[in-house]
């Protein structure tokens, strides 16, 4: 509600302005009350005869309005004078803090890679009972999104092509694996590259018509393509199973050794006691390896002519063309590379779930992946990974907050607020850091010395 009041010229004394806070607080209260009155003040419920009835929730409405008003009042009285004082007298740079920051920046990447490598072992040592859930719901789930984020980063961050239909390629990968594995009994390790190739092919196919488009128009057309693919998956029932999806998808094997309790299973072959966690651990390291391959390929590609052409294209298409860069093939390779990684992730997803349906490939997924890329700061691989952990881990952790039931009563269900807070967090992070969590970029081409520059100097996602 921070900006719900007309702008007023900032007074130059930094003492808290009590009268203004009071007046603005009252205006905020009035606006919040009117805003929330219809949807929170009243609730439509179905009665026994299936008719709609109204219930009122005025105590709840007044509580929320009071909280908003108090927040606004506190913000004007305490936070704003503090910020103004800071702006007038910026604190002197603290040498130890600066050193600590740069050490953190230097050591963060190796530490993060080491941490994800030992994460399942740590989890198994710390929470032996719930290890499966923590590795599966958090580890694997987040790594899938990290990989998708890095894949989309090639298209949006490097080539600057805004793609809102990225989930379509994820779906192509998932359905390729499922259908080929079920119909022809091919193994995961053959189908993984095949699904990647098929997705890349679709990336080129859908990339062709949109070569001339830029910016928002490109975003909307890719969104339309994503939706068309999803609608075809829903309606072509004889091929895809429609809404019911595909179930019983073969699970991945360790080069032919399945994860089951049989004689020829993984546990028996290696003389271990059968446990479902073997498969989860295996899947974790597979997706970790896939994500690392994505990162490695992206970093290497940035050094190659094609990667530099992507970045040049992002900065200025006309200059690019006049320098003799083939913009058609540059754009199509970007689409194809991004789609290929989505295809890998998709076939992994299908193999992990054992069941897929069009529900998993909605626009919301595309929006989630894009927001991870943008929130992370598009130039930075680490930023994207941190954003994936924050957004996906954050919403997953909402499932675990059962203790809130003791505060808000037994019928309080924190899971239903997941997406509400997810959307709200997207808005807040954008306002707080429009260039993403990592605001600096490292150009791959430089004069004399390598330096980071501000994110606002590059044209990521400009279409």
């Amino acid at each position: 509600m921070a900006a719900a009041v007309p702008d007023i010229a900032v007074p130059h004394d930094v003492r808290p302005n009590f009268a203004r806070a009071l007046r603005d607080g009252a205006i905020t209260a009035a606006i919040a009350f009117a805003l929330l009155l219809p949807l929170i003040g009243f609730k439509t419920v179905q009665n026994m005869r299936n008719e709609l009835e109204l219930e009122t929730r005025f105590p709840l409405l007044l509580t929320i309005v009071a909280i908003i008003t108090a927040a606004r009042f506190f913000g004007l009285l305490v936070i704003e004078p503090w910020r103004e004082r800071r702006a007038l007298h910026p604190p002197a740079p603290n040498a130890t803090l600066t050193a600590a920051k740069s050490a953190f920046a230097n050591w963060f990447t190796p530490f993060a890679i080491g941490f994800v490598a030992v994460y399942p072992i740590l989890v198994m040592l710390l929470v032996p009972q719930g290890a499966l859930k923590w590795i599966d719901n958090f580890g694997i789930q987040i790594l899938i999104y990290v990989m998708l984020g890095w894949g989309l980063n090639i298209v949006v961050g490097l080539a600057g092509l805004l793609d809102l239909g990225y989930v379509a390629f994820y779906a192509v990968g998932a359905y390729s694996y499922s259908l080929l594995a079920k119909e022809f009994g091919l193994s995961f390790w053959i189908l993984l590259p095949l699904a990647g190739c098929l997705s890349a092919f679709w990336g080129i196919l859908l990339g062709f018509p949109v070569l001339r488009l830029r910016g928002d128009y490109l975003a909307i057309v890719t969104l339309a393509f994503g939706e068309i693919i999803r609608l075809i998956l829903i309606n072509w029932v004889s091929f895809t199973g429609g809404y019911a999806g595909i179930s019983g998808i073969p699970r991945p094997t360790v080069f032919g050794i399945p994860f089951n309790a049989n004689e020829d299973g993984f546990a028996a072959t290696f003389g271990l006691e059968f446990s479902p966690i073997h498969r989860t651990l295996f899947l974790y390291y597979v997706i970790l390896a896939l994500a690392m391959v994505t990162a490695y390929v992206t970093i290497r590609l940035r050094q190659l002519p094609v990667g530099r052409a992507w970045e040049a294209l992002r900065e200025d298409e006309i200059a690019c063309r006049s320098l003799g860069i083939n913009t058609t093939s540059t754009k199509l390779t970007a689409f194809a590379m991004g789609a290929m990684f989505a295809g890998f992730a998709g076939s992994f997803f299908a193999a992990r779930q054992g069941f897929i349906s069009p529900e998993s490939f909605t626009f919301l997924e595309s929006a989630t992946i894009l927001s991870i890329v943008v929130l992370g700061g598009m130039g930075s691989m680490i930023g994207v990974a941190v954003a994936a952990v924050a957004m996906i881990g954050g919403t997953e952790i909402m499932r675990e907050l059962d203790f809130l039931k003791y505060i808000f009563g037994a019928d309080f269900d924190p899971t239903q607020y997941r997406m509400l807070l997810f959307g709200f967090a997207m808005v807040l992070i954008m306002i707080w850091k429009p260039r993403g969590l990592v605001g600096t970029r490292e150009p791959s081409a430089f004069l004399r010395e390598r330096r980071t520059i501000l994110g606002s100097f590059v044209k990521e996602g400009h279409g």
Binding site: A3, A34, K43, L52, L162, Y243, F363, M426, H462
Partner: protein, 351 residues
């Protein structure tokens, strides 16, 4: 012309909805086109079927057109695709629903026309407030910032709004008792009457009146001049004394008010609304805005009617399952081959 009670029409419509609901989980709320009749009637009276679909399509298109105006005006003035606009439309339908329930079941208002008028006005006022606050909170701090930031903010707002309604009003479909069931038979075929309902007539006339009023507002008043000035160059407009922030706020308010009209009419026409009903109509309305030429007010309405017609005709003559594919394909084809739309100005790329 003779008015008759349209029990079969309504029964068909409800049956169709129930069937759709059974086939589709509520998360995929597709805009159910006015395909209630015709598709199944087959050969009996091709002309009648066509005319009926024409009537249904124009009605649906009017709703799309009203939403599209919000997209086209916002895109014109700040160059941003307001992704949350479809959800603002959905919120307005809920506000209308709640107001309707207050009027009918609490206050026992008997006059349907008066109730509808009050619902319309209340929904317009509250939805305008919602959109005004959204603009202040989520978009204004990002103005002039990185180009993707407002887009992500709008997507976040869209997710927030639909989940807010889900949390506060529940995930189930909300249905109201049908209003204004009377229809007028305008063509009698053998066993197939072409009808136009009062609801459809109301939708047409409200759309026409509002379009005329807003066309006047944008082309003849000082507010409209300010809007067009901001569209061309915000800095220059500010220098010659246009209050840019205020103009943009008013643009959002107008867009929301028109979306509220569309939301109320959607509620009246279909009688059912769900928290996820914002996305697909929103995308289709955006398609309409693009088809008509983004930035052009009459273009938005023409585009809306075209999209409505394409959707109903496609459902009647080809396949009802793929009607959304048709709309999205039109979007892609328009953007690829005619990016400036039917009535828009071509964009010139300068070095």
């Amino acid at each position: 012309m003779r008015p008759t009670a349209a029990a079969p029409l309504l029964a068909d419509e409800i049956l169709l909805r129930i069937r759709n609901e059974a086939a589709a989980p509520p998360a995929d709320a597709r805009f159910r086109a006015g395909t209630t009749r015709g598709a199944s009637q087959g050969a009996s009276g091709r002309m009648e079927v066509f005319v009926q679909q024409l009537i249904n399509g124009i009605t649906l298109g009017s709703i799309y057109g009203l939403i599209a105006i919000g997209y086209t005006m916002v895109f014109g003035i700040i160059g941003m695709v307001n992704f949350a606009h479809g959800d603002v439309f959905m919120v307005s339908a809920f506000i209308g629903l709640i107001m309707l329930l207050i009027l009918t079941s609490w206050l026992g208002m008997a006059s349907v026309a008066l109730a509808l008028l009050i619902v319309l006005i209340v929904a317009m006022v509250f939805t305008s407030l919602v959109n005004w606050v959204i603009e202040r909170v989520a978009y204004r701090p990002l103005r002039g910032s990185f180009r993707l930031a407002p887009l992500i903010s709008a997507i976040g707002m869209s997710i927030f709004l639909s989940n807010f309604v889900q949390v506060t009003q529940g995930p189930r479909n909300k249905s109201v008792p049908p209003l204004l069931q009377d229809v007028i038979v305008i063509m009698e075929g053998n066993g197939y009457d072409v009808t136009i309902s009062y609801r459809q007539l109301i939708i047409w006339s409200i759309t026409a009146v509002l379009l005329a009023a807003f066309w006047y507002l944008v082309s003849k008043t000082s507010l409209g001049r300010a809007q067009r000035a901001c569209e061309q160059d915000q800095k220059m407009a500010a220098l010659v004394g246009v209050d840019v922030d205020r103009t943009i706020s008013i643009t959002f308010i107008i867009g929301a008010a028109l979306a509220a009209v569309a939301g109320t009419m959607y509620l009246m026409y279909y009688g059912v609304v769900n928290f996820s009903d914002g996305f697909v109509p929103g995308i289709k309305a955006f398609t309409a805005a693009v088809l008509g030429g983004i930035g052009s007010l009459p273009g938005a309405v023409i585009g809306g009617i075209l999209i409505g017609l394409i959707e109903t005709m496609w459902s009647a003559y080809f396949s009802i399952d793929y009607k959304d594919v048709a709309a999205f394909a039109v979007l892609a084809i328009t953007l690829i081959f005619l990016p400036q739309g039917l009535l828009g100005r071509p964009e010139v790329e300068k070095v």
